[in-house]
Symmetry: C3
Subunit: 348 residues, 3 copies
């Protein structure tokens, strides 16, 4: 398969270096590929934008205004890795802004002829639409798409990473931070991350973004088999973020301002290792939630299985349903940014 020159060179850079190259166009956010592209100021701007949009969205008149903002633009959702939640969240975000959508959700309808290169495919898509949102099982697919359009195409349109391989899922990290922010749990707070910390990409990205704010302390609560990897611990050390590694959820619970629970990702098991681990100690039960502070919150990226008892759903501290809806609002803000229509919102 043919390849443009320069790809290997770009690919071998660090995410920090890549982020600098892809981040900006005329001083504005253009592609969104890595969580590392955000500064604290960038996050705060995005949160304010999302808050403003949802206020406008409260009335029929406001919704009809929002629908005019990108009514002249079209987006493609290229989601060849199945994902209902992220897909629906992006789709409805685009629709609220009046964008029209091309969906590709299945490789069998998209790769009609074997041997077409990803670069050709992406350039073809870019002939028809004004924004590509991509979710792909190949690590680095989103960055390759952005790189191709930036450096080899006449028609350069933004790319948003909706999850690409095991590593990066930046909009999940954004919605998690936005949920913490709305509950005022983002600065000088204690946050427990619970469950499969080794294989969950959401907790990894969340650590990076939390490090942008002052005075936070993180508790990594997991069976030792699923402990957070050393690279993130080193990163937190380098940023001066305090953390504790433990397997004792019961002792941690009363101290923290937020619990971020995650699912055991047994689909990544190599040897059924998950079935040998007693996960019951890491579940959020009715008993456990009663030990939390009155104003603490419980989050989860969903889907859940047994990590959170459904009886907890009624508790006002259960924030995971709001979290899903927050994802839609923060993605609207992000789309407004990369399409450079954010200023129109403040004119309402």
């Amino acid at each position: 398969m043919q390849q443009y020159e320069g790809w290997q060179e770009f690919k071998n850079k660090t995410n920090e270096e890549k982020a600098k190259i892809l981040s900006k166009k005329d001083g504005n956010l253009f592609d969104l590929i890595y969580a590392q592209q955000f500064s604290k100021d960038g996050l705060e701007e995005l949160f304010l934008l999302a808050d403003t949009v949802r206020k406008i969205a409260k009335t029929q008149k406001g919704m009809n205004f929002l629908r005019t903002i990108l009514s002249d633009k079209r987006a493609m959702l290229f989601f060849v890795q199945p994902s209902t939640r992220t897909f629906l969240s992006f789709l409805n975000a685009c629709q609220i802004l009046g964008m029209q959508i091309s969906e590709i959700r299945d490789t069998t309808t998209s790769s009609e002829v074997k041997g077409e290169s990803p670069e050709d495919m992406i350039r073809t898509f870019s002939s028809y639409v004004d924004l590509i949102i991509v979710r792909h099982h190949d690590e680095g697919f989103a960055e390759r798409a952005a790189w191709t359009l930036n450096f080899h195409a006449n028609r350069t349109i933004p790319v948003i990473n909706g999850g690409s391989g095991k590593d990066q899922h930046p909009t999940q990290a954004l919605l998690d931070m936005y949920t913490l922010k709305r509950a005022d749990k983002v600065e000088g707070k204690k946050i427990a991350m619970v469950g499969d910390l080794r294989r969950g990409r959401t907790v990894r990205s969340l650590c990076r973004l939390l490090s942008l704010y002052e005075g936070n302390e993180i508790y990594f609560v997991s069976p030792k088999e699923f402990a957070m990897k050393q690279d993130i611990l080193n990163f937190l050390d380098s940023k001066g973020v305090k953390y504790t590694v433990t397997d004792d959820l019961e002792s941690v619970a009363p101290q923290v301002d937020a619990i971020y629970s995650t699912r055991i990702q047994d689909e990544h098991d190599k040897d059924k290792e998950s079935s040998n681990v007693d996960i019951s100690k890491f579940c959020i039960t009715e008993d456990l939630i009663n030990k939390l502070k009155q104003d603490a919150i419980v989050m989860h990226p969903f889907p859940r299985r047994y990590e959170i008892d459904v009886k907890v759903d009624k508790d006002p501290r259960a924030a995971y349903w709001k979290q899903g809806r927050n994802g839609m609002w923060i993605r609207i803000a992000l789309i407004l940014k990369v399409m450079q229509r954010d200023k129109v919102i403040y004119s309402y």
Copy 2:
């Protein structure tokens, strides 16, 4: 899999009891799950609404007006059981009213992780959209969705049943009644139901709705192997509706005002029983249609195979193509009702 409390208790009620619980919100129709939710007045109101919408739809200006009515709202079509006709009918109904649509038509893209409960899935969907239209192979899926959103979610949105399991397909019954109504065949009329009456859910629901009007008489015309089940006959007895059970279509044809023909549902055969039945006597041929009254109509829920000869299509009494299009208009009326925007129509 986890389950909310109270489901088993609700599930064991009769459809009549369930209908009362789910029907109304602030005195208005909210969820539409069972044909039993409609009174004669409710039907008449819906028919008038559909008639009014289609008058407005005759001009470009009218169509553009209709498209503003729900332009601030979004619907999800969750159709995991394949159904082209019902799907397209609902989709275009939503589009005519300006709603934006999320489609899920395939379980492989919707159940990314095994073990998520239907309740969690439905609540997730309800985070993004304002209406869920559901078609599912599991009996009771639609009522479970409505029950979950009514009694366990903060964001309560309406659910419309687009066909759920073997039993209920209320919007098919509505469009059948609407077709009869437009041909003035709904009160004091003789209606023949022909074909596979044992396994067709449409004829069962139609009997229930016909019983709401006065003076109708039903002829059940089928091979004895596919005769209407006793529960419906008992129901008609209890409502004082006259009926005749026969296998002689030729004698019945000249007497009736409408024929409702149905397909032999051999996909439900347990032992190829359909292949042993002579169905030719129950087909609508050119010969047979010439025996009908001049103003009688012939209906069929489609798809058809050989039950109706294509030569009959040209006859003015063939109403089955109109019937399909009636489905779109009555679904528009229904969506306007559950979204509480019906009054806007009369302001045009």
Copy 3:
């Protein structure tokens, strides 16, 4: 399976005869099924329309105007043969004009019950939408759809052929001609067609349309195994179009105004014959492009594999990316024609 009378008789006519029958309604283009439906005047009118639309599309105000033109209409994309490019091109064309879309891209969701005839399926679709765009693996499917709606349905709506069987793909031919036209390579020019000429349907249709203009000369450049078939050579003879058959691309390259490169369609191989042919002599390399005239252009219907080196992409003579986008604009023009809204464009 049942069939309307008259189909076999229609089917056995020549494309020229069929084109006359299906072409017009009240003097206007209605169905678009065959490339043969176009005269030179018809093409020129379409090209002017496409040029006018793309000028309007340059501003946000213009795009919002375009979106009102068919905002009262709905189209169905019935694409049961996979095709990303043609699908996306049509989809975005419809969206730019404000049409709402029903997609069917998969036979498993569309043929819920075996035994439904294509005629019934098409008539069902026509109950819900105002335009059907069809791509199908069965030769003649599009013409059968158009024939059914024209001669057997009350609700007659236009059908556009998006590729049907091996033979006809008229909108590809239109976009190829439009690309040549925009580069002023359409009259009195030398055009080389290169690659798999025997099995590529695009080059066949292009020959027909090129014959409508004066003074063109065609070079058929291919391995002898994939030479253009005799029927097209005979056709060109009958129209007085000069042509040369050769396998020497290097000698031809400096003489021509345009190269139309095509992929070896090895998916149609019966006995791996493609693997025995040396295709390297027929590839567009950096070396070769340097031999072309300064203002020549290189086209390709895509997807490509190795027929065109990616290093050629940067050369200003590479026209294949523009070609894809031209497809969207010419399809917009075509939809405006068959929906009889073309005059609105000139009112802007």
